[in-house]
């Protein structure tokens, strides 16, 4: 039996299959590298959730931008809310700001987005994507939260799928600030 090729084929196939599945635990199939990385961030205009003022992404060149896509109905967005706000307090409220933080609510309603912002004491620039979801489409968003780190030259450096951590934000921003 030990010399039979069938014997060894079966065990090698089984071993391979189980190892392959075990490998599956080390990766997340939902994390697909964005083709936008290294490319210029698509420009857009965002209207402020509170006062109707607008900002255009291209006008923020020269400083890194943290672009966060979120929604009031998203549980993970609640979990990362205070991290983003704390980050903004540290880097966005300096004069002049070291980093701009923008939040784009997608598939959301204005009142609900405002309620969410109030609940988590958000002070950075928040706006609503238009009804067609153009900004989300441009950035290839397929879930919330997703966060893009855009360098001072306007190029996307990193994309985080799922909630951000304070460490991750620190690391990305340190890198962008040191470069430029």
């Amino acid at each position: 039996m030990w010399k039979s090729w069938k014997f060894w084929t079966v065990w090698i196939a089984l071993g391979g299959l189980i190892s392959l599945f075990a490998f599956g635990f080390t990766t997340d199939p939902k994390k697909v590298p964005s083709p936008l990385i290294g490319h210029e961030a698509p420009n857009f205009q965002l209207i402020n959730l509170w006062n109707g003022e607008s900002v255009e992404l291209s006008t923020l060149r020269g400083k890194p931008v943290v672009l966060n896509f979120w929604a009031s109905w998203c549980v993970e967005c609640q979990q990362e809310a205070h991290i983003l706000e704390a980050f903004h307090k540290r880097y966005g409220e300096t004069v002049p700001p070291q980093v701009h933080v923008l939040g784009v609510a997608i598939q959301d309603k204005s009142e609900q987005a405002q309620a969410f912002a109030r609940q988590f004491h958000k002070t950075y620039f928040l706006g609503l994507d238009n009804t067609n979801g153009d900004i989300a489409l441009e950035y290839g968003i397929y879930g919330v939260p997703e966060t893009f780190f855009i360098d001072p030259q306007g190029k996307i450096r990193f994309k985080q799928i799922g909630g951000v951590s304070a460490e991750l934000m620190q690391e990305q921003v340190d890198e962008m600030l040191s470069q430029g």
Partner: protein
């Protein structure tokens, strides 16, 4: 209350552990009382698991949101029916449902076969209890649906509205019944190998279990397709998503098993192959569950990523390693006693068909796990889409479909060329003529016409076969062919039940063929304007808002007219808004006709008073025929189930009498 359920599950785990270990001791010490106590343990565990299930259902009914699972999968506004069926709507609850059914099967098997399969039943009980132990450890350790949460919310999150559909209520339990059912032949095969009793009895005894499991798996797949068609709103019913594939793989190998056991029964051949098939089939049911719940492959409708993946992988490894280790240990006992006698015989047709089924299962497995393989080896992310599967699976499917017709008329052992010519001539001529006529009526499409040709060929083969048998029998009985037909079905239930199922498969293939003629169009309709579409005229009359159960629907009212501008139906494709869901969902409108479906999706509306709407339309020919396969399968399986091998029935009765007499 929730504690009561959890404690019941813990005691059930103890009972199952007892049921796993004690039968071995009983056999070693030749103490039947020990084995009997293991049987009793399976009753106890079933009732304890039923209590835990009762606790969960009660919590769902009364919306007890102190239980996390209830909060996550149910809400106060949900109709009662969906509250109850939320029992299997989420990950944890479906696992408990699985355990409930598994323990019920274990209990039935422990008693049903106590006399007839006395040599191996202790190990069958041990195997089924072993499976239960694993599932209970999994449930109690990682995903207990009775776990409480610290704060009690006033309202639950609600069952995903997409799942609030009747097909989705029946689809998961049907799949589970199929998956779990295959554990019974698997347990018999394992027990036979442990004990070294590898004659044909395990195959004969578990025949009905295999049939019923196959039926439920088929039902699960068909209803899943129907649900996707009616609820997801993309006009199709099968997308080769990993989760669909997960259920399809055991169906393929299970179907192969269903056929190849007949060769073992009739000709004492393919014994090793059958053991391999049942190990693979059961293994694939575990792989299916693993893929759905572990989050290792990307799928649109997998459960949220959970912690039970690694534990499931360990279980899968145990099932496959134990199964194949036992097989290699007993491989000499399983060598065939007969060889094929001729090339043209039914055994060979079955064999080729078996190889194709397994080849298809392998293709699906490869396609499903390939993204993982690519990432492991090259570190690249990729996804395998429908074209890969269609390119490989479709030709194999057509060959299988054709073999279905061939197998019907080939004889066991040997068929003469003359009889083949006689049997195939008429069906082939009819199929060719029929296809040519169709080509005049409808536009030519190679794949669709291949299916049409085979469908006519298979149907005619079956009808001639049944007709001939009925005619001969009628003559023998000096009665009408109808009486002959009834007699034929009564005397050889398995064969004719099987042929009925094959007719169901024909319907299914015709349903697939219809998709090649599907027409998709986006229409922008102005109010009160008549727009032609296929054989209809559509008129949009306005937008309406109304309540359907717990959802608010906003619908475009579309009047459908025929060519003579006679009103046929008012259709209401809509968007639905559920109180607990932020996103509106698509509610398609469907008009079913015998030959085609008109399928409407409400895309958007514009204008201050909604003067304009955009509707996505599909005209899908023959799709409804694929669903019709299910009642035909039901009839066929019903006929097959009435068959019991005579040798088995008489042997089991003798054994039963002997044991009862011996026990006084």
């Amino acid at each position: 209350m929730s504690d009561l359920g959890t404690i019941a599950l813990m005691i059930a785990l103890a009972a199952c552990l007892y049921g796993t270990v004690v039968p071995h001791l009983g056999v070693r010490t030749n103490n039947w009382n020990l084995i009997r106590s293991a049987q009793n343990a399976s009753i106890i565990s079933f009732f304890l698991i039923a209590i835990a299930s009762g606790v969960l259902i009660h919590a769902l009914v009364v919306s007890d949101f102190s239980i996390f699972y209830v909060w996550r999968n149910s809400s106060v506004d949900m109709p009662m029916f969906f509250k109850v069926t939320a029992f299997w709507g989420g990950l944890e609850g479906s696992l408990l449902f699985w355990i409930l059914v598994q323990s019920f099967f274990a209990m039935v098997v422990a008693f049903r076969y106590q006399y007839s399969n006395r040599e191996i039943i202790p190990y069958v009980i041990a195997t089924l209890n072993g499976i239960l132990c694993f599932l209970l450890v999994l449930l109690l350790g990682w995903s207990n649906p009775l776990d409480l949460q610290a704060t009690i919310p006033a309202e639950g999150r609600g069952l995903n509205p997409l799942l609030q559909h009747i097909a989705m209520v029946v689809h998961p339990p049907a799949l589970y019944l199929g998956f779990i059912g295959f554990s019974v032949p698997f347990a018999f095969a394992i027990a036979g190998m442990i004990r070294g009793k590898l004659d044909n009895e395990w195959v004969l005894t578990t025949r009905r279990w295999t049939l019923v499991s196959w039926y439920f798996l088929s039902m699960g797949l068909i209803l899943g397709g129907q649900w996707a068609y009616e609820e997801l709103g993309w006009g199709g019913f099968w997308a080769w998503d990993p989760v669909e594939n997960a259920a399809f793989m055991p169906w393929l190998t299970g179907t192969a098993f269903l056929h190849s056991v007949m060769i073992q029964e009739k000709r004492n051949m393919l014994k090793i192959w059958n053991v391999v098939l049942i190990i693979i089939t059961y293994g694939l049911t575990i792989i299916g569950t693993f893929l759905t719940r572990s989050g290792v492959v990307n799928s649109v409708h997998s459960f949220t990523q959970s912690e039970i993946g690694p534990a499931f992988l360990v279980f899968l490894a145990v099932v496959l390693v134990v199964g194949f280790a036992l097989l290699f240990r007993r491989i000499q006992m399983l060598e065939s006693e007969h060889k094929m006698e001729a090339v043209l015989c039914r055994e060979n047709a079955f064999l080729v068909q078996n190889v194709i089924f397994v080849g298809m299962a392998f293709t699906v497995l490869l396609g499903t796990t390939f993204p993982l393989l690519a990432e492991a080896i090259r570190g690249t992310k990729l996804s395998i889409q429908a074209p890969f599967f269609n390119t490989i699976m479709a030709p194999m499917g057509y060959v299988l479909f054709f073999l279905m017709g061939i197998g019907t008329v080939l004889a066991w052992r040997k068929s003469s060329k003359e009889s083949l010519r006689r049997n195939f001539q008429n069906p082939m001529i009819t199929a060719t003529v029929g296809t040519i006529i169709l080509a005049v009526v409808i536009p030519f499409h190679l794949e669709a016409f291949t299916i049409f040709w085979i469908a006519i060929f298979v149907t005619v083969t079956i009808l001639i076969e049944v007709g001939k048998a009925a005619h001969v029998k009628g003559k023998q009985l000096q009665a009408s062919p109808l009486v002959g037909l009834i007699h034929v079905f009564q005397r050889n239930q398995r064969r004719y039940g099987g042929l009925v199922i094959h007719l169901g498969v024909v319907l299914m293939f015709l349903g697939f063929a219809g998709t090649f003629f599907s027409e998709e169009r986006d229409l922008t309709l102005e109010r009160e304007e008549m727009v032609p579409l296929n054989a209809y005229y559509l008129k949009f009359t306005g937008v309406e808002q109304f309540q359907v159960r717990n959802a608010t629907h906003r619908a475009a009212i579309i009047e459908v007219y025929d060519q003579d501008k006679q009103l046929l139906e008012v259709m209401k494709p809509a968007k639905s808004f559920y109180p607990t869901q932020p996103q509106p969902l698509t509610e398609i409108a469907l008009r079913r006709e015998f030959l085609k479906d008109l399928y409407l999706i409400f895309s958007s509306e514009s204008g201050a008073d909604s003067e304009l709407v955009t509707i996505k339309t599909y005209v899908n020919p023959l799709v409804g025929w694929a669903w019709m396969a299910l009642p035909v399968f039901t009839l066929g399986i019903g006929i097959c189930l009435t068959y019991r091998p005579r040798s088995l029935t008489s042997r089991q009765e003798v054994l039963r009498q002997q044991y009862i007499a011996a026990e006084g």
